[in-house]
C-alpha cells in the first residue's frame, strides 16, 4: 500500500486527500501545524466578526477523517529528506512517504518597513494570525490598514464590526488597483466611505511609530502625515510559503516550480495551491494564483496523477468572487485593470452606485473576453459556456437574463443594461427584457 503524505491541511491539501481516498486505498496522512482540522481560511473574518464560531468554519465534521481513513497529524515539519523520502517533525519524530504533496500555502508580505515588528502590527493569513488579531485589537480605537487587496478590505470590515475606526492606506488611485479597472475600484471606494472607512488613496507608508514600549502608537506616511493608531494591519499581498524547501535542491522560484502534472523537480513530490508556481501556465493564467478555487482544482487534479492516472492541470475559464462589505463581486474570464489593446469595454452602472457590470470584448469581432459584476449575481455555468464558446457582446447582452442568479423578487437590471447597449450599438438593436406584472408592483 502506497503512503501519500500531504503537508498542509488547507483547501488544496485536503481536496487532494479526499480525492485520493475516492480513487485509491492509499494510506493518507495530512500534516498541519496550524489546526487539528481543515477549516475554511476564507471564513476567518467571520469568526472575528461573530458571524460564526471556529467550529462552523470546518467543512467536515471531525468524525469524517477517521471514517474515510485519512490520518491527521498536528505538528510542524522541520525538514524533508527527499532522497530517503523521510519527513522530520518539530517534536522529533519522523515519517516516510511514497508520494509527497506540498500544500503549504502562503505567507503575508512584509516589505521591511521600519517598525513592522512592533506589537500591534500584523498580517492576516493563518488561524494564529486571527488569534493574534483578537489579542491585538482589545481596547483599540483606531487602526490603520495598509494595502488595497482582498485581505485589506476584509480586515477593514472586521475592525469596523467592532467599532474600531479604520484608516485605510492604498498606494493605487483606487481600491484593488492591480486587479480592478478604475470604475469598479471607485465604486468600492464609495462604498467604503459609506461605511465610514477613511480611505486614503495614493498614500504610502514611511514608518510605523513606537510608543516607547515596543507597541505601535501610529504611522507616518511618505508625505509626513502622522496617523495615531493602536493597531496596524499589513495586508500588502502574500507570497508562496516555501521556507521548508527553499534550501533543499527542489527547484523553486517565487513558489515551488511544478510541471503541468503539478510535479516538482523531484520525482514523487508534488506541489499544489498557493505554494505552487506553474513553469508554463496555460494562456490567460498566471503562474501563481493564490485563490481558493485554484487550490481546490489543483488538489483534485493531483489526486488523479498520484493514483496512477496521469492528469494535466488544465484550469478552465478563470472565475473568481469576493464581497466588499455589502457588495458582492463575480468575475468570469479576463478583466484587467487596463483595457488591453484591441479590446473595448462595455460598462453599465446602476444609479445607486452599488451595482455595475463591465464586459471586455474584442473591438472588431465583439468576442467577449471577460466580465466583472458588482451587486448582481450571475451564473457560473452560463458565463463559462459563453466565454469558452467565444460568444459576442450583443449575443451575451441580449441573453443576459439567462445568466441572472439574483434571488426571487430582486430588481432585474438587464432591461436597463440592454437599453444602454442599444444606445451604444444602434445598428445591433437587441431585444430588451420587459418587466413582469409582479415586478412592476414590487418595484
Amino acid at each position: 500500500m502506497q503512503h501519500t503524505v500531504i503537508i498542509g491541511n488547507g483547501i488544496a491539501g485536503i481536496t487532494a486527500a479526499r480525492n485520493i481516498r475516492k480513487l485509491s486505498d492509499n494510506k493518507i496522512t495530512v500534516i498541519s501545524g496550524e489546526t487539528d482540522h481543515f477549516f475554511s481560511r476564507t471564513a476567518l473574518m467571520y469568526i472575528y466578526m461573530g458571524h460564526m464560531k471556529y467550529e462552523n468554519t470546518k467543512p467536515y465534521e471531525d468524525w469524517f477523517w477517521s471514517k474515510n481513513k485519512i490520518d491527521l497529524m498536528r505538528d510542524w515539519v522541520t525538514s524533508i529528506d527527499f532522497a530517503g523520502k523521510n519527513i522530520a517533525f518539530k517534536n522529533g519524530s519522523s515519517l516516510t512517504y511514497d508520494q509527497l504533496i506540498l500544500a503549504t500555502g502562503s505567507q503575508s508580505n512584509f516589505f521591511g518597513w521600519p517598525g513592522q515588528d512592533l506589537k500591534g502590527v500584523q498580517g492576516l493569513y493563518s488561524y494564529q494570525d486571527l488569534e493574534l488579531m483578537e489579542a491585538n485589537t482589545k481596547n483599540v480605537k483606531n487602526a490603520v490598514i495598509l494595502g488595497g487587496g482582498l485581505i485589506g478590505v476584509e480586515m477593514a470590515e472586521m475592525l469596523h464590526s467592532r467599532g474600531i475606526h479604520v484608516t485605510y492606506l492604498i498606494r493605487e488611485s483606487h481600491f484593488w488597483g492591480n486587479m480592478l479597472p478604475k470604475e469598479e475600484g471607485t465604486l468600492i471606494d464609495n462604498h467604503l466611505a459609506e461605511h465610514g472607512i477613511d480611505l486614503r488613496t495614493e498614500t504610502e507608508l514611511e514608518e510605523i511609530l513606537d510608543d516607547g514600549n515596543g507597541h505601535v502608537k501610529g504611522i507616518k506616511t511618505k508625505t509626513g502625515e502622522i496617523i495615531d493608531c493602536q493597531f496596524v494591519g499589513l495586508t500588502v499581498g502574500v507570497h508562496p510559503n516555501i521556507d521548508l524547501v527553499k534550501d533543499s535542491h527542489i527547484e523553486t522560484d517565487r513558489g515551488i516550480l511544478v510541471d503541468e502534472n503539478l510535479q516538482t523537480s523531484i520525482q514523487d513530490v508534488y506541489a499544489v495551491g498557493d505554494c505552487a508556481q506553474l513553469k508554463t501556465p496555460p494562456p490567460h493564467r498566471r503562474p501563481i494564483e493564490a485563490v481558493w478555487y485554484v487550490g481546490r482544482m489543483m488538489g483534485e487534479t493531483v489526486a488523479h496523477t498520484i493514483t496512477g492516472n496521469e492528469t494535466k492541470y488544465q484550469p478552465g475559464v478563470w472565475f473568481n468572487s469576493a464581497k466588499f462589505f455589502d457588495i458582492e463581486y463575480h468575475n468570469y474570464g479576463t478583466v484587467l485593470p487596463e483595457c488591453p489593446e484591441g479590446c473595448s469595454e462595455f460598462y453599465w452602472e446602476c444609479s445607486d452606485k452599488k451595482k455595475c457590470i463591465k464586459v471586455i470584448y474584442e473591438t472588431n469581432s465583439l468576442k467577449v473576453k471577460g466580465v466583472n459584476l458588482f451587486g448582481i449575481r450571475n451564473r457560473h455555468e452560463v458565463w463559462d459556456r459563453w466565454l469558452s464558446q467565444e460568444k459576442t457582446l450583443d449575443h451575451i447582452i441580449e441573453n443576459l437574463p439567462e445568466a441572472n442568479f439574483d434571488p426571487e423578487f430582486f430588481t432585474h437590471w438587464e432591461g436597463e443594461i440592454q437599453e444602454k447597449f442599444n444606445n451604444e450599438f444602434p445598428d445591433k438593436n437587441i431585444s430588451v427584457r420587459k418587466k413582469g406584472f409582479l415586478e412592476k408592483i414590487l418595484a
Binding site: 488544465q314 478552465g316 430582486f410
Partner: protein, 597 residues
C-alpha cells in the same frame, strides 16, 4: 438615534416587567354567586358544605387559592367515594351469591341493594351500567369472579362516583380556572384597558423604538450578523437561558395550568370583547401575544433584511396570514355565530380537524361549515401536493404557516443554534416521520370511532386515550413547550424540524415530486459555512454547495437565508424544470477533470 433605541429598550423592559408583575397583582375572593354560576345545582350543596373556609375569604395570591381548591375537590371526592363505593362486604356478598349459582346474574343485585336507600340504589344502577358485560357469564374459578367484580367496582369508583357526585379531572381543571378567573378582584379587573396599555402598549412602542433606529445605526443595507456568536441572547448566554425559561414556563402554564394565568387573560378581555363579543380565554390571550410577536419581530426582520426583496415579501406574507387568517378571521367568525376556523391550518398540523366535535360543528353549520370542511380536505389532498410541486414546501412553511411565521420573526435571532451534525439529521428523520405516523394512526382511530361508535381500534387501542396522548405530548408538549421554548437553545425550528407532521408530509412531496431546489452556482463556493450556520433547519448546505450540487432536502422550508448570507452569490432558491434537479456533483472550472466530484 442611540437615545431613541435606549428609550425603546427601557420602555420594553418596563412593559415586560409590568406584564410579569400583573401576574401577581389580583386578589381573589370566591363568592357564593361565583360558585352558583359555575357549578351545577346537584353538586353545589356538597361543595358549599366543605368550602366554608374558602368562600368569601380574601386571597392575596392565586397559588394559595388554587391550593385550597385542589384540597377542596380532593376532599369532596373522598367523601363521595366513601359514601357511594361498593364496600368490601358488599363485594363479598355479590361474589358469594353468584359463585354459588356458577353463573353471574345482574338480578342477584336486587337482593343485596335496596332501592329505598339512595346510596344503594346508586350502587345497583352503577353495577348494572359498568358490569353489564358480566351478566350471564359462567365462572368456574372463584378468583376470576373476584377479579371481574373488583374490576367493575374500581371502574365505578374511577369513572362513576367522581364524575356524578364529585369533581373529576376535567371538571376540576375547568372549575379551578373558571373560579379563579371569576373571583379575581383588583386593579386589573377594573382597569384592564390601562393594563393593556401599560404592558402590551409599552412593549410594542418600546420594541418598535428599539428596532427602527437599527436602520441607521447598522449602516447600509446588507447582512447584519455582527456579534451574533458573542451575544448573550443569541449564543445561549444568560439572556437566552432566561428567555427560554420564560417561554417554557409560559407554555406549561398555558397548556397545563391555565388557572394560574387568569390575570393575563383578564387583561385582554376588552380586546376579546371588541373582536368576538365575549371574554377572552387562554387561547385568545395566546393568539393575541403570538400575533403581536410576529408583527413586531416582523418589523425587525424587514429592517434586518431590507436589502432582500425576497425576505421582505416573505415576512409581510407571514405577518398577514397570522394577523388575518389565524387571529382576526376566526374570532370574527365566532362573533357571526359561525364555527371557529383557521383557513390556513392544515391537517395533520391541525391534528383535531377530524375530531368528531369539530366535524359535527362544521357539518351542522350549514353551507359555510360544509365549505370549510371541503376547503380543509382540499388543502390536504390538493393544495399541499400541487403547491409543493410548483413552489416547494416553502409556500406553506415560510410564507403562510403560523408556527413558521413565529419562527421566522421572533425566532430569527436564534436560527444559528440549530444542530447541523449528521447525527441530528438521523434523529430528525426518525422523529418527524414518527410523529407523522402517530398523527395518521391517531386520526384513523378518531374516524373509526366517529363512524362505528366503538372506542377500541383493532380491539386494543383506545382512540380517546390516543388522541389525548397526542394532544398533550405532541400538540402541547412538542409543538408548544419544546417548539417555542427551545428557540434560544436549539434554534427556531425545533418543532418544524423534528416534530411537525405536516412538514413531514410537505417534505415528502418536496423531495420526490417538486420543481423546487436550491441551485449551487457552479464552482463559486468557498466552503465558508455561513449557509449551514444560518440554516434554521440544520441542513448542512455547505456539504452540497462545495461539491457543486443542488440542495434538495425534504426539510428545507425555503426561508432563503442561506442565499442571503452567502458572501459569494452561490445559492439561489429556484422553481425550475424537474430535469437536472438532482444534478451530479460537478465543480465547474476545472477542465482537467470531467468526472463527478
Amino acid at each position: 438615534m442611540k437615545t431613541i433605541q435606549l428609550t425603546g429598550l427601557a420602555l420594553f423592559i418596563t412593559g415586560f416587567s409590568l406584564f410579569i408583575i400583573s401576574f401577581f397583582i389580583p386578589g381573589y375572593k370566591v363568592t357564593e354567586e361565583v360558585v352558583g354560576s359555575l357549578i351545577e345545582e346537584s353538586k353545589q350543596s356538597s361543595l358549599l358544605e366543605s368550602a366554608g373556609d374558602i368562600i368569601n375569604k380574601d386571597y392575596s395570591s392565586n397559588i394559595s387559592l388554587i391550593g385550597d381548591l385542589n384540597r377542596l375537590f380532593e376532599e369532596i371526592n373522598e367523601t363521595q367515594l366513601a359514601k357511594y363505593s361498593i364496600t368490601d362486604d358488599e363485594k363479598k356478598e355479590i361474589q358469594e351469591v353468584n359463585f354459588s349459582t356458577g353463573k353471574f346474574s345482574l338480578s342477584s343485585l336486587d337482593k343485596i341493594f335496596s332501592d329505598e336507600k339512595q346510596t344503594e340504589a346508586f350502587k345497583k344502577k352503577a353495577f348494572n351500567d359498568y358490569g353489564g358485560w358480566m351478566d350471564g357469564r359462567e365462572y368456574g374459578s372463584e378468583q376470576e369472579l373476584t377479579d371481574h367484580i373488583t374490576n367493575v367496582t374500581d371502574n365505578i369508583r374511577k369513572y362513576g362516583i367522581v364524575s356524578q357526585f364529585g369533581f373529576d379531572k376535567y371538571q376540576s381543571k375547568y372549575l379551578k380556572y373558571a373560579i379563579v378567573k371569576e373571583s379575581s378582584i383588583g386593579s386589573i379587573d377594573n382597569n384592564s384597558i390601562l393594563w393593556i396599555l401599560l404592558t402590551y402598549g409599552l412593549c410594542i412602542i418600546g420594541g418598535i423604538a428599539y428596532l427602527l433606529p437599527t436602520k441607521t445605526l447598522d449602516g447600509p443595507p446588507g447582512i447584519k450578523n455582527n456579534g451574533i456568536f458573542k451575544n448573550a441572547m443569541s449564543n445561549r448566554g444568560w439572556l437566552g437561558i432566561l428567555t427560554g425559561t420564560f417561554l417554557i414556563i409560559f407554555y406549561i402554564l398555558l397548556y397545563f395550568y391555565p388557572e394560574y394565568m387568569t390575570a393575563w387573560i383578564i387583561t385582554v378581555d376588552p380586546v376579546s370583547q371588541l373582536l368576538k363579543g365575549s371574554d377572552a380565554g387562554r387561547f385568545f390571550l395566546y393568539g393575541f401575544i403570538y400575533t403581536l410577536a410576529i408583527l413586531v419581530m416582523g418589523v425587525r426582520m424587514i429592517i434586518k433584511y431590507r436589502h432582500s426583496k425576497y425576505q421582505i415579501v416573505r415576512t409581510v406574507s407571514v405577518m398577514f396570514f397570522q394577523t388575518a387568517f389565524a387571529f382576526l378571521i376566526p374570532e370574527i367568525l365566532l362573533r357571526l355565530n359561525q364555527p371557529y376556523f383557521d383557513f390556513k391550518n392544515i391537517w395533520p398540523l391541525d391534528y383535531d380537524f377530524f375530531f368528531e366535535n369539530e366535524l359535527n360543528t362544521l357539518i351542522q353549520s350549514g353551507g359555510l361549515g360544509i365549505f370549510m370542511l371541503g376547503w380543509g380536505l382540499g388543502l390536504i389532498g390538493l393544495g399541499v401536493p400541487v403547491f409543493v410541486y410548483f413552489f416547494g414546501k416553502r409556500w406553506y412553511c415560510s410564507w403562510v404557516c403560523g408556527c413558521g411565521g413565529l419562527a421566522e420573526t421572533l425566532g430569527d435571532p436564534y436560527r444559528q443554534l440549530s444542530d447541523k451534525s449528521l447525527k441530528a439529521w438521523k434523529i430528525e428523520r426518525w422523529s418527524i416521520h414518527g410523529v407523522l405516523v402517530f398523527a395518521i394512526v391517531m386520526t384513523i382511530g378518531v374516524l373509526y370511532t366517529y363512524w362505528t361508535g366503538s372506542s377500541q381500534l383493532f380491539g386494543v387501542v383506545d382512540t380517546y386515550q390516543m388522541r389525548s396522548v397526542y394532544g398533550a405530548w405532541i400538540g402541547a408538549g412538542f409543538a408548544g413547550v419544546v417548539g417555542t421554548g427551545f428557540y434560544p437553545f436549539m434554534g427556531n425550528r425545533v418543532w418544524c424540524r423534528f416534530g411537525c407532521p405536516l412538514a413531514a408530509y410537505l417534505g415528502l412531496v418536496q423531495k420526490f415530486k417538486s420543481r423546487f431546489r436550491i441551485t449551487t452556482n457552479g464552482g463559486q463556493c468557498i466552503s465558508c459555512g455561513n449557509c449551514s450556520t444560518y440554516c434554521e433547519m440544520g441542513i448542512d448546505v455547505r456539504w452540497y454547495a462545495q461539491r457543486g450540487q443542488n440542495i434538495i432536502r425534504s426539510s428545507c422550508v425555503g426561508c432563503g437565508v442561506c442565499s442571503a448570507v452567502c458572501p459569494r452569490g452561490v445559492l439561489n432558491l429556484e422553481n425550475r424544470d424537474e430535469d437536472g434537479r438532482f444534478n451530479q456533483p460537478i465543480l465547474l472550472g476545472n477542465d482537467s477533470i470531467k468526472v463527478s466530484n
